[in-house]
Symmetry: D2
Subunit: 353 residues, 4 copies
């Protein structure tokens, strides 16, 4: 029940704390005979890792993936793929200040209460560093379903929003700026805002929009394992996520049926797509799109009250190298989780063929 | 992979189409020795069933649950609980008009594409009638965790919102009106709006807020099976749901960390609760609260374009007895799914004890 | 964890006690569009049910299956198939004599210790009556894989064994006698032996051999879910089973490698088949064959010592209608479980295609 | 579906080929706060590894386990435990002779047919080297249930059997000889026999008996997940296993009920234990004992016919360092798999408390 596995057919099981020897995982259910593109994997890892730009944490993490099994002469063999990502740079960090105290809006307190013990260094298992293993899994998942296109981008930072529908955006521009927002004017505003927030020792939340295109009709399982329900769980499992909506989302809840229904074209596509590419939990071939809300990072470079394990409040000055805004680095994580779901449901649907 | 099962320890597996002989399910993992309150189960079923008030569908469904196993002399025995809910009133309905045509924003088209066959009567497996089985499961789940209080209510209909925080609401008033909105003035506005919409042969969406109180600290599993991720999946699996947010939700994505962090009191509770009772996927003992968005019902009592299986558009006049707004009847379903998650995670956590 | 589900893709989940209202189950993962042969299902149920011949129990159980969902106009729809088997004839039996006492070599004592409560009537959930649901599942499984031939037969009763290899037997003769032994001379000896044992108020054990033919190459999953490991678990889950061996089995453990290795023919078949059709957990296209050991039925029509719940030994005279030898009626159960495994692994392998 | 995971609560997921970079796995569901005995783990690894004595293969495998996560300051933290076992000595072996040919009674042929590709070096994923990861998992499992005693030993080699019941054996003598047979006279006969077989370039099968003592009453789940069914699957998943029997086993199938039933003592124990410590799939507190049949190792140091991928038979001379009899080294593997099952069912039963 330990919650370290994602997926049913294409499965990723992960391990690792932020300051242990290594992170890693096992990928199961990867079809045999796929000639893996290792550069693509490396490139996804680069997108997630800290220190890429001025607006993200300057922590150095090499995030080099070592594959240990399941690949022979460059091709997948159908057996489980083990991998590790050594923690090369963490050893020297000093976390003694939080050994006996619980940071606000972190998981320190609940881990201690649940398990009676916690690896306090860098958040241990609850650290977002864990998502590195997800990106490995996701980048392999993408290679199983090359025809399905998955693009995520930052759609808001604080109260700065892109004010265009995704159809008007050029996804090739996503990585052209540090924020990963494909609308360049908005990106500039966001970047400035993040720098300002950072200067204050504060942090800010944001949202990521993800668009999945060229999806075959029929992916998704009725009732409890609807495609969007699994996408929602996937996103909500990412650190700091507070909300998920797809298609018309929360706005749709304000609409009338006569405005909301997507009428058909003769070829089975629909004139509008408020449904977000999914009907009754099953893909209908239209674009799947959803939006994910991230709260502001809890670690502030300010003085803050902690609770310690003697039941006292103590004031600590936040320090270290932390993101002022997590969403730019979360873009590849959202894509990775989306890819894990899509590959899993793609393989699942083969049973029906 | 068929997606008919929810839960890991406390599991509900369901079957049934809207116009088959019966719906039903199997509940596994229910602890032994619980003296079931059958009136409470019946009462939850009553809350979900059609025809309760002027603003919901006037369809008659008796929704009488027959328990077939797992209960001996009124007590659970620890073995699987089989149950059925006969479909007593559906036989006579005429669905020949949609036999060969796909209603917009329904699952008709994708079922046909995925399976090559569909029980077209009343939506078959994709009908919301399937949620009756969820309410049976949920009402038993509630009896496993009597100390945990779960209250859902309608927080918006169309653009009419309750403008108070949930702390100012009296949950005992939820069932005092047809809309299931505990704020009476707002409830009246909502009810009038739904009647107006109904007169137009139209439908309208809405949101449900759910508050879970008195939760033990420590429920939830790290990484992929975070408590809120499972709650999100549970809600997103309900028909017509388009979004889920918990704690600060999408608003939290606009905030700064210094405003968002929940500072501790000396007893481990927090002064604010923007986290929504969950840290790192694990309950912290504060109230869990979340909001669920429902799109407007797709079946309109208007003329609408359907696609037929010859690839033609045909105009059909919607008819029959349907809800103009689904949220009042969805309240017990949201509670049921929340109860399934909480009971499951409650039992899961016993392994750690 | 409750153990009521068998299978991963093609899944059977069951419920029901021997003296409750009904037994039943849910079949998930059945491919869509299969025109079910209901007579075949009925016929399998007939083979399992009591009262078919002089050598089995004369208890009357109608074992009529009612399908409630997942089937539309005679064809499977891909959604979950719910079914019930009403317990029509059990109500009047008197089980008050075992209410407070534990029969030797029955599960009465361990159920009471594990759950603190038990439905004592007829063994409750531990009754072999539960296998009726397995036969429903297995008879549908057979229809998914019509090309794979599954034949089980009684290969020994007590110390009376068939002394021929299965290749010399005519499987069409299996149902030609009450023992379900295709070798008629041996069948006669077995039948006489069972009648003799029955006269003594005693019972006797036996073995069933099962042969699975025309299996595609490649079914089975490496490491923990080897095809024969799942077959073994399937058989060991049947009431009264004490052992499982496949291919050369326990005899193989006495052999030398030079005698045991199966050398290849040019077409990939093997000259011998001591492997039993499975290499490294994966089918190689040769016949799969295995043997299952059943202990003698524990209920004797004799005086026997019971333990009661006051910690006393009491002598009770066994009574009622019970099998003197369970293996003839277990033949369709062995076939059903084999079919469940083969259909599941057949569908599982489609993911690799 | 890939079959690399064993267990439901206490789960072991493994990866690794015999000649890849490393083997390894992830252990989930290990309770928090256990001070691990790393020497005990190392000692179990030593028992399994090649080269321990004159009668086993002289291959050198260091089998050093590196733990990467889930352990903090020597104690388990409740999070997933990742580990690797580097393949230090395999690189230089030459397997080009089997690159295009399939050894008899090995999995070469079926892997190629199932996956269209195989890592032919040393059997790849089908190599018994994979069991090293099982021993890691099993040795941690043992530490979760220290009160339960698990002892396996060699009970036969070829046609040489221990002729005593296990109650007359001294389990502390198991590791006192190279064969791991606690009866010294028999051990000597076995050892001589293996040496003789080895001289012939041949191999021989054998059986292992395992005894599990001091088991709490109530472990096991009814119907499909009976305790002995899971033990059976666990054993059958080990390379080269052809059969499993528990309690009276295949002999029990020859007995009469009046001889087979285990009568109660006043304290709930039984006078005999033909049931093998399990009733209806649930432990009754008596010793659990079972026997596992291993076929002779397929790799012979003789000339043998292979099939090659051009559909030709070719004669190859077996070479290298291989076991003439696998059972002595399989003893710790049997114990490991038994420990995995017992720890899993022990934790599972906590849900009922």
């Amino acid at each position: 029940m330990a919650g370290n596995t994602f997926g049913k057919i294409f499965k990723l099981t992960t391990f690792g704390e932020s300051h242990g020897t290594a992170l890693g995982g096992i990928i199961e259910g990867c079809p045999a005979g796929i000639a893996l593109d290792f550069d693509a994997i490396k490139s996804e890892m680069q997108r997630r890792k800290p220190g890429q730009s001025a607006i993200v944490t300057q922590r150095k993490e090499e995030d080099e993936v070592q594959f240990l099994s399941g690949i022979f002469e460059g091709k997948t063999t159908g057996t489980s793929i083990g991998f590790i990502i050594p923690n090369t740079n963490q050893k020297s960090d000093d976390y003694s200040h939080i050994k006996d105290s619980y940071r606000p809006s972190h998981a320190d307190y609940v881990y201690e209460k649940k398990y009676g013990i916690r690896d306090y260094r860098g958040g241990g298992r609850s650290s977002a560093r864990e998502t590195a293993s997800r990106v490995v899994g996701g980048s392999i998942a993408k290679q199983i379903i090359p025809e399905i296109k998955i693009n995520a981008f930052v759609s808001s930072v604080g109260t700065i929003f892109i004010d265009k529908p995704y159809q008007e955006l050029d996804f090739t521009k996503i990585d052209s700026n540090a924020v990963r927002c494909p609308d360049e004017a908005t990106a500039q505003l966001m970047e400035n805002h993040i720098k300002e927030i950072k200067k204050q020792g504060d942090t800010v939340g944001g949202t990521i929009t993800c668009v999945i295109q060229n999806v075959p009709i029929g992916l998704g399982e009725p009732v409890f394992d609807k495609l969007h329900a699994e996408l929602g769980k996937a996103m909500l499992s990412i650190n700091a996520v507070k909300g998920f909506e797809f298609g018309s989302g929360f706005c749709g809840a304000q609409m009338k049926g006569s405005d909301h229904n997507d009428l058909y074209n003769l070829d089975g596509t629909t004139k509008t797509n408020l449904s977000g590419g999914i009907q009754g939990g099953i893909s209908n071939g239209m674009d799947i799109y959803f939006r994910v809300a991230f709260k502001p990072v809890a670690t502030l470079l300010q003085k803050q009250e902690h609770l310690n394990n003697k039941g006292q409040i103590e004031v600590q000055q936040g320090k270290g190298r932390h993101d002022a805004c997590v969403v730019p680095r979360a873009v590849p994580i959202v894509e990775a989780m989306a890819a894990l779901v899509m590959a899993d449901y793609f393989l699942m649907d083969k049973i029906n063929k």
